[in-house]
Amino acid sequence: MSTIHIDIVSAEHEIFSGEAEMVFAPALLGEMGIAPGHTPLVTQLAPGEVRVKHVDGKEEGFYVSGGLLEVQPKVITVLSDTAMRAEDLDEAAVLKAKEEAERQLHDREAGMDYATALAENAELAAQLQAIQRLRKRAGRG
């Protein structure tokens, strides 16, 4: 009985890795079953369940909220999204990130002042050094 290796990974952790007799995945254009020796394929996944049929005939399901599926004759890779992703949801996240930046910076002037930044950084470093020197001297005395 031939088997196919399947890896299910998300950006945050590895979800499953092992041998399977057959794999069912919710592709964007409809549910598909993949048997060993399938022709190479890349497809986008819709939210749903990736079902892995183990060698002993048991089935195990993994929920994915979208992602990508890559099939090669002997290996299947599922790159799963853990977060709910949709164009408008992503846009909302973008807007939120922008808003947060704007809220803090509404009264700034044009152009970044590197001189001040560097000077301030140097000043801090000098202060730190001074403290260390003082501490050393105190330790000796």
Binding site: D7, V9, S10, A11, E12, H13, E14, A27, L28, L29, T39, P40, L41, V42, T43, Q44, G67, L68, E70, Q72, T77, L79, D81, T82, A83, M84, R85, D90, A93, V94, L95, K96, A97, K98, E100, A101, Q104, L105, R108, E109, A110, G111, M112, D113, Y114, T116, A117, L118, N121, L124, A125, L128, R135, G139
Partner: protein
């Protein structure tokens, strides 16, 4: 006996501080272990994507995604700056900012403008004071951020790149060398180095659903996001490691301080006893 009351209070207060720093040290140590695990757990995803990208690159070399193309003229760059949310972690953030400022100054001198996307409180408060051009910001990501927290900050930059507002994208963060060493790095995300696989000589292509371009676009977007996520998780591990070291040295310093104060206190007490004795003796002699 009311000798050295101030010294005693001082010792008590330093002891309390030492308890806090010790507790923080231990908390940071355990959080660091967890952060390191998360760092490791995030690796397979990026590796797998890189593999698929290599396959795709070999299968259809005619389509190059914009993220893989180097632009001839760079007028403006995007920077994703990753920092910690909290302080008390030694020189971690200020080392990173110093390195970054040097780079920014170079860019500025060669006429390249910069857009910043900020992750973490410390960078937000630092760069907002210097009129940096911050276009997006995300703070309070916590100890175990999900990738969903970063989508906004990364996508802002990806969109800017596609609209040709920026011509390159960098991520600025600390890399975890070991628990004693963290090194600040500025790493290029876009144009991404295309993953070339040497031993892929035979020609075959995938079946694409819905179509090649869409799949590739999605893949590259996820890839860049996963790199950014990796940087954030790694930075958290760095933060905890740096905090652990800083708190350990603070506890040690408190220990030496306590010893010194104890010595002063003992001397004062001894002096008081001696004085009292000599007073009694001379009093008896006078009778």
């Amino acid at each position: 006996m009311a000798v050295g009351k101030e010294v005693r209070t001082k010792i008590a207060s330093v002891k309390n501080t030492q308890k806090i720093t010790k507790a923080m040290e231990m908390v940071a140590a355990s959080k660091m272990r967890k952060a390191q695990e998360r760092m490791r757990a995030a690796r397979p995803y990026a590796e797998k994507i890189r593999n698929v990208m290599a396959h795709l690159g070999a299968a259809n070399p005619e389509y190059k995604h914009p993220y893989l193309l180097e632009r001839s003229e760079i007028k403006r760059v995007g920077l994703i700056v990753v920092s910690s949310d909290r302080g008390l972690c030694g020189g971690l953030n200020s080392n990173l900012f110093r390195d970054l400022l040097k780079r920014m100054k170079q860019w500025d001198e060669s006429g390249i403008e910069m857009d910043l996307s900020i992750i973490g409180n410390k960078a937000a408060s630092y760069f907002s004071r210097f009129n940096a051009n911050i276009i997006a910001q995300k703070t309070h990501i916590g100890d175990a951020p999900g990738i969903d927290m970063l989508i906004g900050s990364v996508k802002v930059m990806l969109d800017a790149y596609m609209e040709e507002k920026i011509d390159a994208l960098y991520v600025v963060s600390n890399t975890f060398v070991n628990s004693m060493t963290q090194s600040p790095t500025v790493e290029q995300l876009i144009p991404a180095k295309s993953a070339e696989d040497e031993d892929m000589q035979h020609h075959w292509d995938y079946i694409y659903e819905p179509d090649a371009k869409e799949v590739l676009d999605l893949l590259l977007e996820r890839y860049i996001e996963s790199l950014a996520y990796q940087a954030v998780v790694e930075n958290i591990a760095c933060e905890q490691a740096a905090r652990m070291v800083a708190m350990k040295s603070a506890s040690d310093n408190a220990g030496t301080l306590i010893d010194e104060l104890q010595l002063i206190y003992n001397k004062a007490r001894q002096a008081a006893i001696t004085q009292e004795l000599s007073e009694i003796v001379s009093g008896a002699a006078a009778v």
